[in-house]
Subunit: 272 residues, 2 copies
């Protein structure tokens, strides 16, 4: 079973440090919780060649899902679908289903008094111009539809960059597809906090716990002198009981080892 | 003059959506302000092959700077330097200068009463084990030094993932190097806010302004119905006056075009 996902984020605003990439964070979190393995995130600018190149490279690694965010809107710098079609070497064409979605959206805007009349300008038709073979995904929050493509065994899904639009399309149209693929595997995690032991003393203890608990991943996150360390335990399993047993066993072992070195562990941060 | 930079962030915590990638955002912002062009950000997990692969791919694109963050600490999952050395096909070796930095750091910790005695455990020596030919960069905030390597015309710089450590080493050791390379080019930006015009009506107006002002990049960021749109103008120049003239001219032109379409522009968000 291929549970691998890659995320591509498109937008100059990310590369000039204007916008913090909360989309990748949100997507990685959601996908992980539902049992996917996010292998890589790639951020590129609003440039057709850069997008096409990234799509080809990611596709070569054959993940089950590629999620691309950003660049689906009506403006000249919304270049994601042009980049995808160049990367896949396929045509762009006006998709009638997408055009209908967009027309209906503008009819709603007219009814709501937000616009005077529906006019399908080139900028609006652009949002319905998809790589051939693509299926549009309804956007209940904004105007530009999401896009779904299947390339061999890989699903390529393009979502708008505006967070509520991205999140809604993901929840409505992507999550059901993803749940089918991961076959009930779910991600579980717990953290404990250690005090009185520094990271370089903790390192060999974590090594030992990871060795003795092959299905558990353990990672320390130092919080600065005197603030202790967060130690994060995670695993993926079909049964919540299996996961909890695994995490519990690893946590008990590490806590014992830390105490033998003169440190302490707690289940919550100091002061919480 | 090659002003291109790529950023690689290493850490499973980024791929499971546990940690928001503020490091890439901070680095992209700082580098852009000082005139660099950040072309791509790549996030990979704590895996030697993934890191090595990303390093090779980025190096093939020949940016002037590669900044890698995360994975320099003492724990087993700090794999960045192993990944870099595999990617560059060079040896890892204990770097005497780095070892001295680390020893002095622990001596300070002993003096401050944070540790009983200095002991160079394998986990600590690991932080001084660098790709051959590397130069360690002093870490005034934490323990693990940064790392500088030159590969043909590219500087590869590895920084710790803990934000204050990463930021301090960047400011102290990377910024001076970067300023030499960019030859005084600086990034300038301004935003205006438009109301009463929707993005698909604005799109052709931005096209026209971009066409008439080839050195200015314009991007609209919709804020949701009724909240207007941020329109962001940016340019790079050696002289602040040149940049301001360029941005001013583009803003005046776009404001006029928006008004002709029945919209309004303001220099601040409504309510500010």
């Amino acid at each position: 079973m291929n549970r691998q996902m890659e995320i591509i984020c498109v937008g100059n605003e990310l590369l000039i440090g204007k916008t913090l990439n909360t989309n990748a964070h949100w997507l990685a979190r959601r996908a992980t919780i539902f049992g996917m393995l996010v292998k890589r995130v790639t951020i590129v600018g609003d440039n057709v060649d850069e997008i096409a190149g990234a799509v080809q490279e990611v596709l070569d690694r054959k993940p089950k899902f590629i999620i691309i965010t950003g660049g689906l809107g009506p403006t000249f710098d919304d270049k994601t679908l042009e980049g995808v079609s160049r990367g896949l070497n396929c045509k762009l064409e006006v998709n009638e289903k997408a055009l209908k979605m967009i027309r209906e959206k503008y009819e709603t805007y007219v009814k709501e008094g937000k616009m005077e009349r529906v006019e399908l300008t080139p900028a609006r038709v652009k949002m319905a111009t998809l790589p051939e073979g693509a299926e549009p995904l309804p956007n209940f929050v904004g105007t530009a539809p999401g896009v779904k493509l299947k390339i061999a065994e890989t699903f390529l899904i393009a979502l708008p960059g505006v967070p509520p639009e991205m999140e809604t399309i993901f929840e409505e149209s992507v999550l059901p597809l993803l749940r089918e693929e991961v076959d009930g595997n779910t991600f579980f995690e717990m953290s404990i906090y250690s005090y009185g032991i520094i990271e370089s003393e903790l390192a060999p203890l974590i090594d030992q716990v990871m060795h003795d608990n092959p299905y558990v991943y353990v990672k320390s996150h130092p919080k600065g002198w005197g603030k202790g360390m967060e130690i994060h335990f995670s695993t993926s399993a079909k049964e919540s009981r299996t996961a909890k047993n695994r995490l519990g066993k690893a946590i008990v072992q590490l806590s014992d080892l830390v105490q033998k070195k003169g440190g302490k562990t707690k289940s919550k941060k100091k002061g919480q």
